[in-house]
Amino acid sequence: MDKLLYDLRYAVRTLAQTPGVACTVILTLGLGLGLVAAVFTIFNAYIFRADEVRDPHELFAVRRQPTATAEAEPFTQDAYDALLRETEIFTDAIALGPQIDRWIDGQRMEGPLVTGNFFQVLGVSAALGRTFTAADDLAGNRVLVLGQRAWQRYFAGDPGIIGRTVRVNEMTFDVLGVMPAGFRGLGIDPPDFWMPLALAGDLGRGADGALPVDIVGRLRPGMSHGEALARLDAWDLRRSAETTGARPAASLVIEPRQGKVPLSVDTMLTFLPLFFAFGLILLIGCANVANLLFARGVARQREIGIRFAIGASRRRIVRQLLTESLVLALAAAAFGFGVSRLVLASVVNYVTSAMTGLGDIRLALMPADWRVVLFLVAAAIASTLCFALVPALRATRVELAQAMHGAVTHDVRPGRARNMLIALQVTGSVLLLICAAIFLRSSWRAASNDPGVRIADTVFLGIGNEQARDSILDAVRADPEVAALAAMSPAALRALAGTAAGKSAATYRWVSPEYFDILGVAVMRGRLFTPDERGAPVAVVSERMAQALWPGRDPLGQELRLEPDPNEAEGAPVAPAQMPRFTGAAVVIGVARDVAGFRVGGATLLAGPDVYLQATTETAGTSLALRVRGDPAIVVRGLRERLATIDPAIGEIVPLQELARMEATLLEIPFWLTLALGALALVLTLSGLFSVLTYLVAQRTREIGVRIALGATRYRISALALAQSIRPVGIGLLLGGGLAAALGALLLATPAAELIGQTVRLFDPLAYGASLLLVIAACAGASLVPALRAGQVDPVTALRRD
C-alpha cells in the first residue's frame, strides 16, 4: 500500500515534469476511450439498463409462442381481464395497448394506450403533474401523460402545459403530467405520450375487448417462475376450452420485461462492428502512445539504469512505469467520459435534425450510469496493458554498465516494434476509409439510380381507413396543390401467369388509368385503359413480360391467364387483405416500359410489375399517387394536417422523392460514421508517423552527420528518412486492403449476402483505389516534413554534439 502510494506520487510528479507528453497521451487515449464508451453507452442503454421503474426484476410479460406456421397470436383486452381475475400469479398486471400516432397541437406524436394502473404498477410518478388513476381509464377521460422527450421537444419544456388542453387530431385532451427523463414505458425508446386504454374506441381502434395488448405483471413474491408458468398453462387450457372449445395453438411463456433489449446473437451482431470500428480508434491511439513511450523509454535509460544500480528489481521498475501509464489512462478515461457525452449528443442531434429524410427519429440522449464508468475504467486498464507493458519491459532491458555510461543501447533492430505499430495504424485507417468509400459509392449509386418513374412531383398517400376513402378522395381532389391523382395497389401482387406456352411467376398491380401519366411510365405499344373499360378483362404488360411470354410475337391481343400463386406466402411484401385478387383471363391491350423501381432497406419499391390491371380510385385497398404543384415536402405537410382532420388514422403521406432518396440517405449514415472514424484514424496515424519519424531523425542526427561526412547527398538522406516509413506503411496498406477484402468475402458468405450485395458494392475498385491513394498521399505528406528536416541537418553541429 505504501509502495503504491509512493509509486502514485512519483508517477504524478514525473508526469508533471513532462506536461506535453502527458497531455498528448490523455488527449489521444481519451479520444479513443470516449468513442468506445459512446458505443458502450448505447449498448448499455438498450441492453443492460432496465427501465427506471420500481423493482424491474419483478416484471414479467406473458406471451404466446409463435408456431411454426403462424406469428404469435396477441392477447386481447378480454384475455387480460380474465388473466387478472382468474390467476394469482401477479400481484397486479398492466395491459399495454397498441402504439398509435396522432397530431398533437400540430406535431406528429406516437405513444401507447395503457390501462389506468400502468404507472402505479410500474411504480413511477410524474416529474410534473400526475399520472393516470384507475378512474381515468374507467371513465374514458380524454387525458394524456407526456414523455419527457416529447415535452422538451414539442412543448419546449413549458411547465404550464399541465392541466392545459391540447388538440389531438380533432379531439381535445387534458395533459395530466410529464414523466421523468429516465422512464421509457417498458420500451426501448420513450414514447411521446400515454393515453388510457378505454379511449381505444374513440381513437378508432375498436372497443370490443378484442384489442390486442401486451400483458406485463409483477410476479407475486415467493412465486417461482416454474409455478407461475404451470398455473398460467392451466388457466390457458381452461380458458381455451371455454372460449373456443379447442386447445390453445401454442403454449405460453413468461419472460422478464424490464424495458431492455435481450442480449442475443442479433444484438451482438449489430454492436460488434460498432465496437470494432470505434475500438480501432482506441487501438490506433494506443499505438501512438506506445510509440511515445518507446521514445521516452530511450530518453529515460539513464534514470532507469541508476535505479537498477541502487538495487531496484526489474519488476519494481516496470511497476513504476506502469503506474505512470495507468495514471495517464485514468485521466484519459475521465476526459473520455466527456468525449463520449459530446459524441452521443452530437450524434443524437445529427440523426434527429439532419436526417429529416428518414422521418421524425425518436432518439434521446442515452444516459450514462455506473456501468459506463466501470467500463471506462476497465477499458483504461486494458489499454494501459496494451500501450504500456511492452514499452516498459523494453525500457527496463538496459545493460547496466552502458546505461551508467550514458551510452544508448541500440537494439539489433530498433525500429521493429515501432514499425509494427505504424503498420497497425495504417491498417486500421485503410480499413475504415475503404468502408467509408464503399458506402459513399453505394450511396451515390443509390442516389443516381434511375427508378424509371417520375418522382419529382409525385406523392404517395396511403388510405388507412376505407370508411374515410370517399371523404379523403373529395378532399384531395379539391386541394389546389394536387394536380392529378391515380389509384394503385400499394404493393405488387404475386400470381402465376399462364399462356398457351405454360405458366410463370408474375407480379401484377392494380392501377387507375391516370397512373401511367402521373408516374411517367410510357406506353410503348398498344394503348392504355379507358375509363369505360372498368371491370373489363384487359391488361397492360411490361416489355419484359411481353418478351418473356411471347418472344418474337405480337403481345397485343394475346390472352393472359392469372391464377393465385401458391408460393405467395413466402414472398416479400404482403398486400393488404382487402386488396382484391385477380383470377381469370385478360386480353393484352398495351405494353408499358419496364420500371426498375428503387430500393429501400432491402425491399424494392415500384419495381416491375409485369402486369397492370385496371382499378379505380374507389377500389378498396388502393393507395393514391398524386401529382402535386410546388415543393412536395411542403405540400405533404399541408396535406397531412388537412387530412388528419378527416381521418385520424390517415396513412403514410410521402413525397416519392423522399422514398427514392431513402436508400442513399440510409447509406449516408454508415458513410459519415466510417468517414469520421477513418479520418480520425488517419489523423492519429499521421501524427504517429510524423512523431516517430521526427523522433528517429532527432535521435539519429549524429548518424545523419556521419553519413553526410561520408558523402551522402541531402537528397539521399531525405530519401533514407522517407524510406523508414515505406515499409510499415506498405505493410499497413496491404493488411488494410486485404482485411477489407476478407471482410467483404466473409459478408458474402453469410445468408444476407444477396441483400448486402445489392445495397453496397463490397469490392468497388474505385473505393479501394481512392482510399489507398489517399492514405499513401497522406503518409507521404506526414513523412515529408521530417524527411526534409533530416536532409537539412548540419553535419558540423551534428558531429560536434556529444
Partner: protein, 253 residues
C-alpha cells in the same frame, strides 16, 4: 610553399565567423597553409583554437566565411551541395574522436557505407574493397559484429577502415585517440603511421604532443590563427597568467 599547383590542399587567408545570439565568434581568422600529397600533418593547439573548424572546412562539411580553398588546384567555395557531397565521398576520409560508427549497421555495412554513396561499383567490388580495408586495419575477423560488440580501439580501427575504403586523397582525423586509453591510442597512431608509409596523406588534429610526434610536421593554432611553436607557448603562458590574475582579482573583490 608556393608550389600551388603541386599541393593537394591550398588555403589562403581562410576565415570562419560564427554568429550565435548576436555574438560573433572568429573561429578562424586568416589561415594560410598547404598540404602536399603524401604529407602527414598534425594540427596542435588549445581547445577552442579552431582546429575542428579548420578540419570541417578542409573536409567540406563547412564553408569558410572568407579566403580561398583550393583542393587539387580547384577552388571549392562555389560548389553546390551535391558537388560537395561528391568530393567528400571521393577525396576525403574522416576519422572522428567518437568513432561514429552507426549502431544498427554491422562492421561490414559501416565500412561499405561510403561506397554505397557512389555509383558504378558492383556489389562484388564493394565486398572486395571492404575486405581489403578491414584487412589493413586487422578487423576482417569481425565483419558481422555490431559496433556495440567491439572495444573502443576496435571501433576506431573499423572507423579507419571506413575512411580508407573509398581510397580518398586525404584522411582527416579529429583527435582520433581522444576516446581511447593510451594502449589503444598508440595502436591507432601506429596504424595511421603505417598508412602514411603506404602513401596516404593525413591531416590529424591532436592536443597531445606525444601523438603529434608521429606526424611529419606540426601546425600550431591559437585563437583561430596559425602560429609557430614558441609563439604558441608564449601565448599559452600569457593566457594562463591572465586567468590566474582574473581568479585572484575575483577572490579579493
Amino acid at each position: 610553399m608556393n608550389e600551388t599547383n603541386r599541393s593537394l590542399i591550398h588555403l589562403v587567408d581562410l576565415k570562419k565567423v560564427f554568429f550565435t545570439d548576436e555574438v560573433e565568434t572568429h573561429a578562424l581568422s586568416g589561415v594560410h597553409f598547404d598540404i602536399a600529397q603524401g604529407d602527414y600533418v598534425a594540427i596542435e593547439g588549445p581547445s577552442g583554437s579552431g582546429k575542428s573548424t579548420l578540419l570541417s572546412i578542409l573536409g567540406m562539411l563547412d564553408t569558410p566565411s572568407g579566403g580561398r580553398y583550393l583542393l587539387n588546384g580547384e577552388p571549392v567555395e562555389s560548389l553546390d551541395n551535391a558537388q560537395r557531397a561528391h568530393i567528400r565521398n571521393r577525396e576525403i576520409g574522416f576519422i572522428f574522436q567518437a568513432f561514429n560508427l552507426i549502431g544498427d549497421l554491422t562492421v561490414f555495412e559501416n565500412v561499405e557505407l561510403p561506397l554505397t554513396y557512389r555509383s558504378g561499383i558492383s556489389k562484388q567490388e564493394r565486398k572486395e574493397r571492404v575486405h581489403e580495408a578491414l584487412e589493413r586495419v586487422r578487423m576482417a575477423h569481425r565483419i558481422r559484429h555490431y559496433p556495440a560488440q567491439l572495444s573502443g580501439g576496435q571501433q576506431q580501427r573499423v572507423a579507419v577502415a571506413r575512411a580508407l575504403v573509398g581510397k580518398p586523397s586525404i584522411l582527416l582525423a579529429d583527435e582520433p585517440t581522444g576516446n581511447l586509453d593510451s594502449k589503444n591510442g598508440e595502436a591507432v597512431m601506429g596504424l595511421l603511421s603505417e598508412l602514411h608509409s603506404g602513401g596516404a596523406t593525413i591531416c590529424m588534429v591532436t592536443h597531445d604532443p606525444r601523438y603529434s610526434a608521429y606526424a611529419d610536421c606540426s601546425i600550431h593554432m591559437f585563437d583561430g590563427r596559425i602560429v609557430d611553436e614558441e609563439t604558441l607557448n608564449r601565448l599559452r603562458e600569457e593566457e594562463d597568467r591572465r586567468i590566474a590574475d582574473h581568479a585572484r582579482g575575483g577572490r579579493t573583490a
